[in-house]
């Protein structure tokens, strides 16, 4: 999977590494600001109130 991606990135090794870093950062940002805030309410490891 990553090998396939690496072969398709243009340029030399340095360019490929830079492009990989940018892609990873984009994915991380989408997760952090997009997906994780939607998932967070489903995780109830920090329930603080007492209820019946």
């Amino acid at each position: 999977m990553y090998g396939w991606l690496w072969r398709r990135l243009p340029g030399n090794t340095v360019a490929k590494a830079l492009a990989s870093g940018v892609l990873a950062a984009i994915v991380a940002a989408v997760l952090w600001y997009g997906l994780f805030p939607l998932l967070e309410p489903l995780v109830t490891l920090d329930e603080v109130t007492v209820t019946r």
Binding site: G3, E40, D46
Partner: protein, 208 residues
């Protein structure tokens, strides 16, 4: 094929780790943005040159509004959180929440405040470090109320008695002004609740 499965597994693991990091540190960013808004709201209502003696205690506060400023000297000189009215997840994301219907600051009865232990700034992360006699300072609109910690214990999540007007004795008529802080226990778990009780020690004019 096997290689792809391995790569996907490693990726899933990294995403899970990133999600844990988000829970612990990322959620606090929202709280950090909301707290100044709540504290400004309080400062506006407290300010305006009004003498504390003339400001009357509120009878009730609308959901989502700032109730008071909470300080706990034992947890640091800069420990300061605006308490919001309400304890739904949306309220608690912004800061410690006051149980609607329980006593307001300084009033006879039980002033109950719940706060996160690990996420959303984790305002109550260290309340297990509170000892008997430690101060819990509540700056309300009309006065500064200083409570002293009397007891700390761990209960089941269903033990509603701790938020009764007389903690542990539901149905009893309250004669004292007490405070109760609740959070989850143990840390990173929702299995139990950590409860800290305190009793009103003194009432003073607010220092701004």
């Amino acid at each position: 094929m096997l290689r792809t499965v391995g790569e996907l597994s490693i990726t899933a693991g990294l995403i899970l780790m990133l999600f844990c990091a988000y829970l612990l540190w990322g959620t606090g960013a929202y709280t950090d943005r909301q707290q100044p808004l709540l504290q400004q709201e309080l400062a506006r209502e407290m300010g305006g040159g009004e003498q504390p003696a003339q400001a009357r205690p509120l009878r009730r506060i609308n959901l989502g509004k700032a109730v008071a400023l909470l300080r706990i000297p034992r947890l640091g000189g800069d420990y300061k959180y605006a308490v919001i009215e309400g304890v739904t997840p949306e309220h608690l994301m912004k800061g410690p929440g006051h149980y609607p219907g329980t006593a307001l600051p300084g009033q006879i009865g039980n002033f109950v405040v719940s706060g996160h232990r690990t996420t959303y700034g984790a305002p109550f992360n260290e309340i297990d470090k509170l000892h008997r006699g430690d101060e819990i300072v509540v700056d309300a609109r009309e006065a500064r109320y200083t409570y002293r910690v009397t007891r700390q214990h761990v209960v089941q999540p269903t033990e509603l008695d701790v938020v009764a007007p007389v903690p542990g004795k539901p149905g009893r008529r309250p004669a004292k002004a007490v405070i109760t802080l609740t959070t989850c226990h143990p840390e990173y778990s929702a299995a139990q609740r950590l409860i800290v009780h305190g009793v009103l020690d003194r009432t003073e004019p607010r220092e701004d």
